[in-house]
Amino acid sequence: MKAGSSMQKFVLRRLAETCIVLLGVTLVTFLMMHLAPGQPLQANPELRLDPTAVERWLQLRELDKPLAAQYLAWLSRVCTGNLGISLLHNRPVLDMIRERLPATLLLTGSSLMLGLGAALPLGVIAAAKEGKPADGIIDFISLCFISLPGFWLGMILIMVFSYQLKLLPAAGMVTPGESGMADLFKHMAMPVSVLAAGTFAYYVRYVRFAVLEILNQDFVRTAKAKGVPPALILCRHVLPNASIPLVTLVALSIPFLFTGASVTEYVFSWPGMGRWIITATLSRDYTVIMAVNLIIAVLVSLANLSADLLYLVFDPRVRLRE
């Protein structure tokens, strides 16, 4: 009962803190966005746009009002669940997110699974074979992947697989006019590999370190001394303990599943959130920038909170302060 109420208090306190953080994030985003030179629509002399029409456009969207009034209006809209309408596309931001999120989740989700799926066993192997050739090879691969910028790796893959070998498509998620899983997988192969390589390199070092740390603990040594088979030690004692720090890492990476990987999406013309965010930022689509930043902030806060809560569940050493 007592534990339950302290847990409730903890969650409530964290939620209150989250609200303050969100307010701060939106305010800073709003100010930075307006400090950046330019505005969503400017008379472009190359295209002979009419400056008076541009003024009327800004007026109809209330962008000619003082910044404080604009921010408060935005805030009151968001409190009623309205994320606003994209200034450039004239469509509800939520609809635009809904159109792009599946593509992004497919890309980021599968690369996380692939990267993590490879990092877990290889990280354990590296730790178990510490100092041996297998450890060296895994270390070398992860070092390579972590040092290669995603856009560069992406471009190299495009050069080899799309330009030279003509095996894989360099752009998009589907071939227009063709359908089927094989086509989708062909489009996914390169961007997923690029992202998975980065994820793998990032996690494999953590896994190796976490497993090594546990392997050197007294209870493991005791188990070894008692003659417990190494595989059993690994499965029953080492892995459950080593997975605890990973929980935070994975939880914290969840928000980025939703926002996509801008650079990779851009390189592979992937129709997801990341590419859209870049375009919106470059074209000063204020409502989109605000909405996306708010969503990222909410997700990061929630992910932090759930990581903390998961710790409480998984790790008996962590207890709430009364």
Binding site: P37, E46, R48, D50, P51, L116, S162, K166, L167, P176
Partner: protein, 531 residues
């Protein structure tokens, strides 16, 4: 579990790779054409187009009322089959083709045109077209006094005579008016009851449920592609290619790779000059090019106070430092033409004998000394992502230094660049001017024009430009614009650099693709793919 899923995915990828290995680049099916586009259109409503990609996509769905001759860009009948202009040049009588139908079977009528003009003149309309329509009698009154949110009522100068003819009267002579009638109409029966302010965000702008164009929108997967299907009611005949996909691939290199792999069939406008030679060697591809209706320039900010650029001699001297022939040959690899003045070689008034500022560094040096330039450092801005302009900036800096003029180059991303332009925060700018189809130079060169962002002002030029719109006689207009052009060039408000060519690459299987500088897709219904 996680590991299993990862393995499963890996297996899928390997299988997919295997499937790819056994396949040669796609052969072109006769009924599918994949056209590249650099960005997702912002709208498909023809009255709200503000960028080139959107204009390209919209032109497949919405034909213009008027077409333009390929050789001199003079107006040609299209949906408007004929027109008559009264002797005083104030009244235009238009007749529409009778065989033009909306895709829902309703005929296109003069009511649709009148409605479209009312939308353009409505106070809540924020698109770019009103600028050219305010000379219609009653347009200004309609904009200021019509208080309904709907584009209803009437503009006094627009009179519907019958289903297929209408008359427009102007408040004053406006020789280029016909070219501004190259708008695309909206369906009155579908949108007549929509508020003018809501039209831009109306579902029609995304779905185009009813259209007049060669193609109809079947599906729009945002940021991915638009699937268009041939309109069998198109007034010039049903397009031969049944399916046209506009594939959104936001970078030129990837577009090229996809073209070479056979996954794209046409790259409109976006071929880089350095890639052309390679494409020409490929027998499976064809390369097309033509001059664009735009020139690039190095412009001088004449609005800035105490700027040495207020002195004509300094501007002339700077203009003489650049060898434009060299720029066209080395930076554009010959895919362009030196620009000497603001008239385009494609316009009827073009003066091929006009001599612009000569390339003469010695003369430039003496002019600078004469003007007493001093230690001033000029700030040159240009936008990121345009390699040719970047190279021009570097070349100019080097050449200006030789006559003792210091240049500080500032590279800006597009929005920041436009912001600096509007605030006048620059001395020299590298930008382009779209010339339009009519030789009317008012937009950039009349001292009172909103498009005159460099602050150019010459009373004699103002008078000539006003005069140029008062007569419909082509010979007379030619003389007026040539005279105005000469005066502008002598004032050296900017350095005309070049008219670039628009370069397109397509599969050699695509036949009858004959790009037009005004509209790439003007004859898309005639295109065909042969095996």
């Amino acid at each position: 579990m996680v590991r299993k899923s990862g393995l499963l995915l890996l297996i899928f990828f390997l299988l997919a790779l295997g499937a790819g290995c056994s396949k040669r680049p796609k052969t072109h099916l006769p009924d599918i054409l994949r056209v590249a586009s650099l960005s997702n259109p912002l709208t498909l409503n023809p009255l709200f187009i503000r960028d080139a990609s959107t204009a390209e996509a919209a032109s497949l769905l919405h034909p213009a009322l008027i077409g333009f001759d390929r050789d001199n860009l003079l107006p040609q009948p299209r949906i408007i089959s004929e027109w008559e202009v009264s002797n005083d040049g104030l009244i235009y009588l238009f007749t529409l083709r009778e065989d033009v139908f909306w895709s829902d079977g309703m005929p296109l009528t003069a009511e649709d045109i009148a409605f479209t003009l009312r939308v353009i003149c409505h106070r809540d309309y924020t698109g770019p077209l009103y600028m050219h329509m305010h000379k219609i009698s009653g347009a200004v009154e309609y904009r200021e006094r019509h208080d309904s949110p709907l584009a209803d009522g009437s503009i006094s100068g627009v009179r519907v005579i019958d289903g297929h003819s209408f008359e427009i009267s102007l408040t004053e002579k406006f020789a280029s008016f016909l070219t501004h009638m190259a708008i695309s109409p909206l369906p009155f029966h579908l949108l007549g009851s929509v508020n003018a302010a809501a039209l831009e965000s109306h579902e029609y702008s995304r779905t185009v449920t009813v259209g007049l164009g060669p193609y109809l929108l079947n599906e729009w997967v945002q940021d991915s592609y638009l699937h268009l299907t041939a309109n069998n009611k198109y007034f010039l005949g049903k397009p031969k290619i049944e399916n046209l996909y506009l594939c959104i691939v936001p970078n030129q290199e990837t577009q090229l790779i996809e073209l070479l792999a056979g996954r794209l069939d046409l790259l409109p406008t976006s071929v880089k000059v350095e890639d052309i030679a390679k494409l020409r060697d490929d027998p499976t591809l064809a390369v097309y090019s033509h001059l664009r209706l735009a020139y690039d320039y190095l412009g001088f900010n004449m609005k800035k106070e105490n700027s040495p650029l207020a002195d004509k001699r300094v501007r002339q001297a700077l203009a003489m430092t650049l060898d434009r022939e060299e720029i066209v040959a080395n930076l554009l690899l010959g895919f362009g033409q030196v620009a000497h003045g603001p008239l385009s070689p494609l316009q009827f008034a073009y003066n091929s004998e006009l001599e612009g500022m000569p390339f003469n560094p010695d003369w430039a040096q003496s002019k600078i000394l004469e003007a007493g330039f001093g230690e001033y450092e000029l700030k040159l801005i240009y936008n990121a992502g345009n390699l040719v302009r970047e190279n021009v900036a570097l070349l100019f800096k080097e050449r200006a230094a030789k006559i003792g003029v210091k240049i500080r180059i500032t590279l800006l991303e597009w929005e920041a660049f436009l912001d600096a332009l509007h605030k006048g925060d620059f001395d020299i700018i590298i930008l382009g001017h779209g010339t339009g189809v009519d030789p009317d130079l008012t937009y950039y060169w009349h001292s009172k024009s909103p498009g005159n962002s460099l602050g150019y002002s010459n009373t004699e030029v103002d008078l000539l430009l006003e005069e140029g719109l008062q007569t419909g006689d082509l010979e007379e207009r030619t003389q007026i614009y040539r005279h105005a052009e000469q005066l502008i060039v002598d004032d050296a408000p900017l350095i005309w650099l070049y008219y670039r060519e628009a370069v397109h690459a397509a599969t050699a299987n695509l036949k009858y693709f004959t790009p037009h500088p005004v509209s790439l897709f003007y004859n898309v219904h005639e295109w065909s793919l042969v095996q």
